[in-house]
Symmetry: C4
Subunit: 265 residues, 4 copies
């Protein structure tokens, strides 16, 4: 299979890392580091083929846990610092003159409300995971690097949360639906959304990003395995427990994905 | 999955959009804007992997609804302004000295005749949708962004329209076949063509382009879901109605696809 | 699906074709034009993802129908004029000091012997067609552009041709095996080789090249259709006859594929 | 299918090989040539889409068969000479101040201990082979170029080797597990690892690399064939014996893969 990135860009990036870089000041604003990771993750997840014209990455504020940062409504591939908006847990921008936000920002607000441990939320339309919800087939942890997944990743069926009226749709456009999604997520790292995508959380932007990519890879592996034979072997409880007990080191793949980005990013 | 575009090109394009651009004159010819979108859509749909050496995008004239614009017979990837031909609803070029047109221009003429609401027609050989017609499996709306699709996209079987003689083929090469295709399309946004591709319509070139790409993505998602399990969940009537009631905003993905084009386009 | 080529390269190529080119002299050696097409086809078929480190394109000599031209043993992507060897129908190089030839050149010799109409032979390991021979599933003409294929493309099972001894292998390394392959090809345009690839013939290098690519696309479409449903609709006799009666114009896709090549080729 | 490399880079590389190169001195350190191949193979296998952020290539020392060379813990795409560590068969670096090694280096140590013929070991997470272990479907030699594979490639189930306690995981993190893996490998060229990847060995880095890629291609072909039909034809004993009796020439594909690397590598 073809790697989802430009080798040439990687080489360029490798040459760049050899250049001297001024160390980040210890007094730097901790939120700025998180915002920088939101931007980088938006680019990485596009470059790895997980994000399309839509989808969004956010980070909770380190200074004010009732605030978080996410890009305005725009393609994630093009996000830069000027596009980042500070948002309250009421899903309103802190600055009322802020640019228009994504309609589905309630995914983020409600998960941050429900999960104090979560520092980052990512919403994707990942085409590798979408078929699982459409087919009603449980996503299982089948590859070693996806040991963070539970034995069965929960699936959010928005019909169960929508009122039974003619206006019910597919998108998480209000606090009620965001709350229902957060409830389905529970204490898990990932929740699938039928016919739509998923939401992934982490203790950092980097962890949420690497989890998003390994959920993608795991879904590809399970789909290919089920095409070969219906009976598949997933990681068992002991294997999952061993994986969960280790500190998941997101840094090595994060650095790899970052280096795959074209020069100039 | 890998995104069907060059991230580097996107970055280049992003830098370009920062450059000052002269605003389009309010007195500009409205048909020129449509023609420019026909050219851009030809490039976008090639870049997104939907168009091959064949396939064509057209736009109805804003000034004369009985005329439309389409490229001469050539690969869509290379179309530029000089290749655009003005065609009447009789499928003849307005200028009799115009270069040779695509043999399947009757797809366009007959749909424009039958559907006054249609401002743009796109014909593709999209390999993601072709298998549905070959297998006789209905295309269903399974992803949230393809809510413009009906519960079952109609399939055009050219054998039903061709006379039962030895010369009947696969291509829509005359007005009779174009009319039969338009009748199968009916009031839908998309019609599949067995063993061939599809035709997609829109109220603008941009809408038709974005519909073409989300038909492609929806077909990929349904194929992958059916490989996982035969019982799939499509958007139901309420979900489709909610989607249809909203104004479908084609601009965000259009801008995204456009920015993915390499610099110089 | 992603297009198997670089859009940037295509744009570059498009700009190049705008440059004035000296017309080929009417007194030019006709074999040189064929050799140039062999080189271009080697690059095109690599760029389109059909050829790998192996595989080869040849052309019969226009001046001496008992000779043909093929590259020495090397990756087709890198072939240039200096690598082209003139070979007799005895499968020996005309110049005994010529560089080493491909071991499977007997595919070419024996087909040229058996088929006076054939002007070009292409051998590939195309991963889209290989599964059909392994699974024993007939390749059918399912897309409109592959109407040159017969209702069932013949499959060469080398075990039927190999003597029943311990040294029988998978490769066509002598005249006996080449002759058996040519007999299985018969009057068809394509023969599949189980666990190996195919051989494609044409009345010109360009026709053989375009047939090779549309055999590849047709195989992809049939595989995807059979994953959706086991009952597929192929082109019927009338549709195939209509297609065969038309002169197959290889030039439009050939130009498109050629323009996709990176600048400098 | 799209080739997993940049044609432009290949052309650039082709132009580069035309430049005069100083012949390697006959007195050069033989281990340096092996180390250079480890680095090149790391880049090739990334460029061909077989290696991800993890995975590693090693070579036994020609001077001291109880030592081998492998990169420190880092993404293989970025490995350069300074990252290569000399390791003993006890899996400890010869230089105690060496940078941190990959946790799964025991795959290498134990295979080198068990197999005196092996000069190179490669560990991958190849997504084309992973589904076979998950589904419990045997990998068969189905394409001519994968005739080095046995009739059934052995599968390592780490649960059989792990003690039945709560800490058993998926990774080969100690000598006991490495030894169990080496025993499952036996005298074969490849061993699959359930839910994880594979380990491939060779008499040289180049042979191990080419075997890794053809194992990848063979897995793709078998998966696609089994999607078409459950009954597949693999190479039989005579075909495998013929292939095994020939000296497997890894040089042609190695040169092709190397030339695909972007300029500067």
């Amino acid at each position: 299979m073809r790697p989802p990135w430009s080798y040439a860009a990687l080489v360029t990036a490798a040459l760049m890392v050899a250049a001297p870089v001024h160390a980040q000041s210890p007094t730097a604003d901790p939120d700025e580091a998180r915002i920088e990771d939101v931007i980088t993750a938006s680019h990485i997840l596009t470059n790895e083929g997980v994000l399309d014209s839509f989808g969004h990455v956010s980070a909770r504020s380190a200074k004010n846990p009732d605030h978080f940062y996410m890009p305005r409504a725009m393609p994630p591939a093009l996000v830069s610092r000027a596009d980042i908006v500070e948002v309250g847990l009421d899903c309103k921008p802190v600055d009322p003159t802020a640019p228009r936000l994504n309609g589905e920002r309630y995914i983020h607000c409600e998960i941050y409300k429900a999960r104090a441990d979560v520092q980052s939320v990512i919403h994707t339309h990942d085409l590798a995971v979408v078929p699982f919800g459409i087919a009603g087939v449980p996503l299982r942890p089948v590859v070693a690097q996806a040991g963070f997944l539970p034995p069965e990743t929960p699936l959010f069926e928005i019909r169960d949360a929508n009122a039974a009226d003619a206006k019910r749709g597919m998108l998480v456009l209000d606090a009620h639906l965001g709350d229902a999604l957060a409830k389905t997520l529970g204490q898990n790292p990932v929740v699938l959304m039928r016919g739509h995508g998923n939401a992934v959380v982490g203790r950092s932007v980097r962890e949420a990003t690497v989890r998003t990519i390994y959920t993608h890879i795991n879904a590809q592996a399970q789909s290919a395995a089920m095409a070969l034979g219906r009976s598949i072997t997933a990681l068992d409880e002991a294997e999952l427990a061993t994986n969960a007990a280790e500190n998941f080191d997101a840094d090595r793949p994060w650095q790899n994905y970052k280096q795959r980005l074209p020069a100039g990013r």
